[in-house]
């Protein structure tokens, strides 16, 4: 039995995950917590939010995020890939700026228009 705090929403439910019993989750306030508990103990993932260089806007950075969670151990690899990039305005919110980042299957999208 493992105890976890669900990070899917600000409620932060205290989860109990039974590894011996097919990762059965208790203590979750909603179904998303059950999914989180199982994934967290098998192959943890996170959405990465950061910024990339952007020329031609009011500020020199454009905020971005991965459109899906990526494996936790690849977070720094994703950060290095973002560090290589440079965008040029105009950028639209939701625009894919890097697809299938580090072969994670996730796209990097802009989170504001510039």
């Amino acid at each position: 039995m493992k105890e976890l705090i669900c990070i899917v929403c600000p409620k932060g439910c205290h989860l109990h995950v039974d590894e011996a019993n097919d990762y059965k989750v208790t203590g979750n306030g909603c179904p998303r917590g059950a999914e989180y508990g199982r994934i967290e103990l098998t192959h943890p993932t996170r959405v990465v939010t950061s910024t990339v260089r952007c020329a031609g806007g009011r500020y020199p950075r454009c905020p971005v995020k991965t459109d899906q969670p990526v494996p936790k151990e690849q977070i720094f690899e994703v950060m290095r890939a973002l560090d290589q990039m440079e965008l040029t305005a105009p950028v639209q919110v939701g625009q894919v700026v890097l697809s299938d980042v580090c072969r994670t299957g996730a796209n990097v999208v802009a989170t504001r228009s510039i």
Binding site: I7, T51, R53, P60, V93, R112
Partner: protein, 419 residues
Amino acid sequence: MYDLIVIGGGPAGLAAACAAWEGGLRSILIVERDQELGGILNQCIHNGFGLHYFKEELTGPEYAGRFIRMLSDTGVEVRLDTMVLEVTADRQVHMVGKTTGYRVEQARSIVLAMGCRERTRGAIGIPGTRPAGVFTAGAAQRYVNMEGWMPGNRVVILGSGDIGLIMARRMTLEGAKVLACVEVMPYSGGLNRNIVQCLHDYDIPLYLSHTVTDIRGKDRVEQVVVSQVDERRNPIPGTEMVFDCDTLLLSVGLIPENELTRQAGVEMDRRTNGAVVYENMETSIPGVFACGNVCHVHDLVDFVTAESQRAGAAAARYVAQNGDAPQRVLQVRNGDGVTYTVPQRIRPDRVEKRCDLFFRVNRICGDSEILVTSGDTQIARFKREHLAPGEMENITLPRVLLDKARDEITVSIREVEQA
């Protein structure tokens, strides 16, 4: 003459203006001192916004962007690069703009939505030298996320509020080494999810019941001394730890930005550091409303939006009805375990079906009941499994229950005894 002037173009101001437009007002002005709308959200590039309101997880800029788009579908006028200098009790707004110069505008109603600012080092008085390298966490957030430069490489963070936690992760991702997050209280002021995904994920130690007792360095921070504190928050000699670092980030709380509010003569609440408000976010001056972080510090922008929509709708009603006679008023009192409530006063006749009440508790509680009483009568009871000072709570009181109350209601916490 404007029907409504909104001061501040963050999420609170945006939601209030949109709601007032929907409520039928057609001459609305938003005054914002920054060069763009969106307020603090523009620098909060992490996700975690909008789960309640949009039912999806957005980043700060995305959340702000949606409201800015909604606003552009209305005829609300916006003045950027314009700072409000004074608000008078008869609802004159003095402002100075980069291109428009000094102007005085008259409004039928006003929404105060100036947000809050960070407590600075001076406000908590850390001993030691005054080298470069000490920043508030929010200022560092702006430098990294908007201006694109790093404040330092080896970092200690004082305070475990959400901004400090978010910045611990952000600095780590950008290649800095975050050595410690230090919290004077025995519990963190931030959300649990942020402790997990910002500290645990990156093995950043959290020292509870500790504080920074010295900052060393000549031109730049070179060392920070951290000591354990006793129950009275006094440092315990002999517990010092020395960290070699070049940066200290302070995340020691937010203060509502209420100079304008005070100057206007609005009655203030010592506990929230914001205006005393009624159920519809109206202050002690009729036709002047306050919402968002200027009223009380929120952890979740979704609640800012909800509260500000109420303020905007109420401003529209106020203008339409030209104000009306005073009514029966219930004082909301803080009972055991409750630090503050918003609203502080309720006029039951103005409550349509139900009234939302926000509050914070003064300690961490397990299984608990939130009790609402009036005199000796209990009028409502709510169950919670977990309550913490870092997490704002809310309850909803139906009008029928408020009609039963006399003069005052008291909100208190009772922890359920474990068998």
